[in-house]
Each structure stands twice: as C-alpha cells, then as structure tokens.
C-alpha cells in the first residue's frame, strides 16, 4: 500500500504509539485486500455496531479505554446500534436478573465511554441511523467507515454511499485516523454485479424472505435484481425504502451482501442500468416455489415445535415511521375481525428513539397502545442472545433475528394472524 507522507508519519509514531497502532490496523486491514491506498472518510458522521455493555466483551472496552487514555479521538461524531435493555419489554424475574446482574453489567460504563468517544446524543442508539428522524444519513458518493451490516447495505444500495462491510472496532479506528483502505465496495469495479437475480413471483415477495434467499445464494457478491420494481415501484418513497431496509438486512445477515442494485429503483441502477452487471454474471431465478423452498428449510429450534408463542418481536432492523403506522392499521383491523380487543401474544414493535418520538406525536401511538402492542427502542437480538430466551418460543418476521437467535420466522401476514387471533401461526 502506498501511504502519503502524513499517513506514513502517523504509522511511524508521529502522533504517538496508540495512533500508530490504529494506523497499523487500518494498513494491515487494507493489505489483506491488496488495497493500493487509504482514502479520506467524507461522511459527516460515523456509525458503530457495538452498543452493548456485555461483561464478556471486556477486551473491547479495554481497547476503547486505551484509545480514550491516549487521547486519539475521532473528528466525527457517531450513532450506534440499539441498546440491549428496556424495562418496557416483557421479561421474567429471572431474565431481568440475568440481563442486569450477569450479562449487561458493563452497559453504563460502556455508554460513558461512547459519550467520551463522540456519541451524537443520548437518542443515537439505533441500527437505522439513516432514517430522516435520526439524521445520520450519508449522501451519495460519500465514503464511510460504518459497521452494522443492515446499515452498511442500506447506505451503499439505497443511498449510494460507499462503505465496506467493516467490523466493529474497525469502524471507529477508521474514523480516528480519518482514512479507510480503498478496496471492495469503495471502488467502481467492486460495485459491479456478480449475479442477475430475476424475480418471477406471482405476488409481491416478502422482503425478509426474498433477502434471505438472495443472501444465502450470492453470499458476499453483488446482486442486480430484475423485476422487483414491478412490485415495489420505481420511486424511493417511504414504502419502498422500508421494504429495502428489511430486504437488505436479510441479504446481509443470511449471507454477507454489502450492496445490491434494484433495476429502475436504486440510484446506481437507475443511472447505469445493466452496464453495472459483470460479464458472465451468474443467474438466480426466484419464483413462488423457490421462496417456499427457502421458507420450509429454515430449521425450527424450539424444543416443542408446537409451543404457543410467548413473545413476538417486530423491528429487526428497527421499524420505520411508515411501518409503525401501517402496522397500527393492520393490527386494529385484524383484531376487529377476530373479535379481540388486544393482541393475544405479548408483542413488541421496536424503532429508533427519534422515530418513536415522532410516532408518539401522532394519533397512531394511542391507537397502537390500545391494541396492547408495546413499543421499544431495544435491540431484539441482544434481548434474545441468552440461554433463557433460547427456551422461549418467540416469533418474528425478521430474518436477521431468526438467523442469530432461536426466534421462529413467519411472514408478516402469519405474524398478524398469530398476534391478533392466536395459535402458533
């Protein structure tokens, strides 16, 4: 890698030993991809993936403390993934004990570290930092040092920013030195599509199921999706962006997709069309039968596969304002049809604190509360990642949550029936 004189001086220790190690980390990271150079980060703000004060992750907090003690601060402020705890979310006495006394005992300590490192504000805890209400929304072409797979794939694909699938810690180290290695999704060549995915379904495909199918097929490659505009339109309006948020999160968690192009919809596909597709790109056709096959092959890890669900999580990644409103309408209508006044399974809708703040200003908030649905800023994944929850039959329409926990996936329609009418589906 060729470094500028300034970068080389940092690597040689001109700004201290810790800064030299941070630079060494970024150089070695780039060398692993034969990156020729480091390029400046141009986004206003950063986004970090590590939001949780898990006792077992103390090596991370020790490293953060080293950075703080050495005074090697980033010039950028940042948002960060959702908090792992919220007392509004139903939990047993034992769960609360495990969460507060065993697992997340470092939460307050780590949040203090985050504030010192440059946290945007106390409400900047969300995986959907790019939402208008939150305000950490990069511009097209900006270079980022973000982590959080669902945010990275959204920033690249829907916003046209440029960011690799950086890991936690690398996210803040890039921001501290102000540079990231130039490779992969930062380059024009790296943004070209290796796959053509043809959508040939007879109805609008479920976003989370479609994303899962594509992620598992293409892994870390870039897919160019043809035929989806028929179902979600050619305008990046609220509904389309919400769809792509959920679709992208599933591609990134069920595979390792960092960028997708949707023909006639996402910015680079609109500008460059099929010239984005590499020669000899592979083809994957998705029809109703393929989605059904993918769905049926998900393992069910509940001890009792016929157990009655004890909890439902919606919002991994966090729900948009549009989603909260449309689900309020759907839950109300389904309850009325079922002759029920409140949801029959404890149900939590999660969203960014700033999105919830806006939602609470609308009349939808009182209506949703009347249905018994709880709203929260929590990270469902962090809530579920413990042996107690493994024994708990939790349902979700999030394919990301399904992938990382014992939560069982159902389509949106099935979830709606389950929470308003009952049964395990």
């Amino acid at each position: 890698m060729i470094l500028t004189p300034e970068q080389q001086a940092i690597l040689d220790g001109a700004k201290g030993e810790t800064m030299a190690k941070v630079m060494k980390t970024m150089v070695m990271y780039g060398d692993a991809f034969e990156a020729e150079k480091l390029v400046p980060i141009t986004s206003k703000n950063n986004h970090l993936v590590t939001s949780f004060g898990l006792k077992v992750m103390s090596p991370v907090y020790d490293l953060m403390q080293q950075l703080l003690d050495s005074g090697v601060m980033s010039g950028q402020k940042f948002s960060v993934d959702p908090r792992p705890l919220d007392k509004n979310v139903p939990a047993s006495f034992l769960q609360n004990f495990v969460f507060n006394k065993i697992m997340y005992t470092k939460q307050d300590f780590y949040e203090e570290q985050l504030k010192k490192l440059g946290l945007l504000n106390d409400d900047a805890f969300t995986c959907t930092c790019y939402m208008d209400e939150v305000g950490n929304k990069p511009q097209k072409g900006e270079v980022l040092s973000w982590a959080e797979s669902s945010a990275v794939v959204y920033a690249n694909s829907v916003l046209g920013a440029r960011c690799n699938r950086n890991s936690g810690i690398i996210d803040i180290m890039g921001s501290i030195v102000g540079y990231v290695p130039y490779f992969g999704l930062l380059t024009d060549e790296g943004r070209k599509a290796d796959w053509i995915v043809k959508i040939e379904t007879t109805k609008k495909p479920e976003a989370q199921l479609l994303g899962s199918a594509i992620g598992m097929k293409v892994m870390e490659d870039v897919p160019y999706v043809v035929g989806l505009d028929k179902w979600i339109g050619t305008e990046l309006d609220d509904a389309a962006c919400t769809y792509l948020k959920d679709f992208g999160a599933a591609t990134a968690s069920n595979g390792a997709v960092g960028l997708y192009h949707i023909e006639n919809l996402t910015p680079e596909a609109v500008e460059q069309g099929q010239s984005l597709i590499k020669e000899n790109a592979k083809v994957y056709v998705i029809d109703d039968a393929e989605l059904e096959r993918v769905y049926r092959e998900y393992p069910v890890v509940w001890k009792n596969k016929d157990a009655e669900p004890k909890l439902c999580f919606m919002g991994c990644p966090h729900m948009s304002l549009e989603q909260l409103k449309s689900w309020t309408d759907k839950v109300e209508a389904a309850l009325k049809e079922a002759g029920n006044k409140k949801v029959v399974i404890p149900t939590v809708f999660t969203a960014a604190p700033k999105v919830l703040e806006q939602f609470n200003k609308t009349d939808y908030a009182a209506r949703l509360k009347a249905t018994g649905v709880i709203t929260s800023y929590i990270c469902p994944l962090m809530y579920m990642n413990n042996p107690l929850c493994k024994k708990m039959p939790v349902i979700t329409s999030s394919n990301k949550l399904r992938t990382y926990t014992s939560a069982r996936y159902y389509t949106d329609d099935e979830i709606l029936v389950a929470i308003t009418k009952g049964g395990n589906k």
Partner: protein, 147 residues
Amino acid sequence: MKEFKGRVVTPGTVTAKAVVSKQGFNTLASMQMALQFGDKQTKCGDQNNPDINGKPLCGAALCLPQTIGSTTGGLVLYCACAMKRQPACMLFANHIDSLAAAGAVLADVWVDDITMPVIDCLGDEFLDYVKDGMTVTVKEDGTVVVE
C-alpha cells in the same frame, strides 16, 4: 496427505485437528453464546450450520469458505483471541472477507501473546479434501498440509 498453498494473512505455524464448515461461517451466531456464557471449548452455536453446530472451535483448525453475517463478526473473533478461546488457525478456501480480516488483524496488532495463523485463497479443492478430525499443519509460508 495433500499440500495446499495459500496466502498468508497473519503468519504463524500450528498443527491442529480440522473442523470443517462447507458453508459460510457466521461468526456472531457461532461464537457469541459460547463466549458469553463461559464455554471454554467455544462450541459452535449456529443452528443454521449443521456442519459445525455443537462442535468445539477453540484450538481447532477451522476450515471454511469465508465468514458471513453481522459486522460484529470481527470484534467477536478479536474477543475470542483476547480470551484465548480462538481456533488454532483459520483456513479459508476463498479470499478472506472483511469481517474475518478485521478480527485477525485486530488480534495480531492489539492482543499480546497470541498466534492464530490465518491463510486464505486455498481453493475449493482444499475444502473438498479436508474432513473433520484430519490433522492440519500450517507452515510460515502459507503451505497447509492435510493428513
């Protein structure tokens, strides 16, 4: 016995028994629960990966195509190394991905007294040949001997 030549991402030499994932290795799903709840063998907890689910990863020669999933992957790997519960080596059939690379580099730069050789670009033939329990030796120059 067969020899494969890969690219050295982080150097070192080691001999260990192979644990083989034919599909993408989801670092968060595989390691988080084990690290969190004190499993010293770091048994894989990824229900979606039947190849390795339930198998001990600590001290194993982890053979895989690439890692996938959450961008916490690199820091989970870094934590495993800092806690001395990491695989003996990681051997990638494909080019290493950005998350595994981050974990390997972070461990190399920031953790003292740790060696986890990481070799990539070993090719599909490597993953076809190596089976669970085979003895794998990693040499300094990126040569991997499987027997």
